[in-house]
Amino acid sequence: MDLSGPLAWAIDALLALLLLWLALRALGSPVPLEGVIFFIGFGLTLAMVWVRLEVPDIALAEAAIGAGLSGALLLAALAGLRKVGGQRDVPGPADPGHPPDALAKDTSGDGRSGSPPAAEVAD
């Protein structure tokens, strides 16, 4: 793969700018769901950059773990946030498949699920 020449330069410049823009949108958006989605796009673009830099092992790992698994973890955490009831800052899309319900609503009566009554920090 030729890493020189004006066309290659154009592609590289475009990818670099895309990376920076996606990162800015991911971190700057007030809605966490939007941030996570832009982050997944950022991860996939980063995988393209690894291909451009001729390191295919990293491209495979980034696409699968960095974009795919990280994105799945973040989306599951967002769903968990909605269920646990943090600030109402997530507009509710439909549940992504069957999100694992991580906390609190445990039916087995396992003592560990009951966190101590919300220790309100005296403001």
Binding site: D57, A59, L60, A61, I65, L69, V121, D123
Partner: protein, 229 residues
């Protein structure tokens, strides 16, 4: 009292932060630009290429990951298990499934899962000579576990106790065992005998990819699968 008056201190901090970061950014950029033409030394690439024949694999990245810097990979697998231990200790057991997946998810899961297993197997086998290896293969296996979880499947309670823990720790245990083996023959820790190096690396990679896949899927699941009541 936690209320912070919007006084001069916090406003100054808020204004100073971008300036400091711009300075940091500029300094790092200057460092990189001053390094930029290809230097006379090629890092460790030449040493790796020269020693590649001793490792039994031809992919330099796999050789570095599993042979030259094998200890780092061993510790990395321990870090994965530690993270899983942390997640399991923070979260209670998962409740039972209470929904059915839609037909699209169901059909696609049945279609993709065998393909993912085949791809994971290929990546594992090809890791010795082409891009691939234990981590990539383990990542695809983990993704297969995520797809199963989203489709509503849960591990049968019979398998959620010792068998699950066996699969999770097998990669690390085998790696440590293979590492200790040369000590018994009078050599150093993790010093694979040259004739067996390729086979040992494949053995380590196979168990490692299964463990990594199980650990990543368990990290997504978020809680201990329900064992036998």
């Amino acid at each position: 009292m936690q209320t912070r008056m919007p006084g001069s201190r916090s406003t100054l901090g808020r204004r100073l932060l971008p300036v400091l970061l711009a300075g940091l950014c500029g300094g790092l950029a200057l460092t990189i630009l001053s390094l930029s033409p290809p230097g006379p030394s090629s890092g460790l690439a030449d040493e790796v290429t020269a020693a590649l024949a001793q490792t039994g694999v031809t992919s330099p990245v796999t050789a570095v990951l599993l042979d030259f810097r094998g200890y780092d990979t061993l510790l990395e697998m321990a870090v994965l298990l530690l993270a899983l231990g942390g997640v399991w200790s923070l979260v209670a057991h998962l409740p039972r499934i209470d929904g059915r997946p839609g037909i699209m998810l169901d059909r696609l899961t049945r279609l993709y899962l065998p393909l993912m297993l085949v791809v994971a197997g290929y990546l594992l086998w090809a890791g010795g000579t082409a891009p691939g290896g234990a981590f990539q293969s383990g990542a695809v296996l983990g993704a297969a576990g995520v797809v199963l979880t989203l489709g509503g499947w849960r591990l049968p309670p019979r398998l959620a106790g010792w068998p699950l823990r066996l699969v999770l720790t097998a990669g690390l245990v085998i790696f440590i065992a293979v590492g200790l083996l040369p000590i018994g023959f009078g050599s150093l820790w993790l010093d694979y005998p040259r004739a067996w190096a390729g086979g040992l690396i494949l053995l380590i990679e196979t168990t490692a990819s299964l463990s990594i896949g199980a650990t990543l899927a368990a990290l997504f699941l978020g809680g201990q699968p329900r064992g036998d009541p």
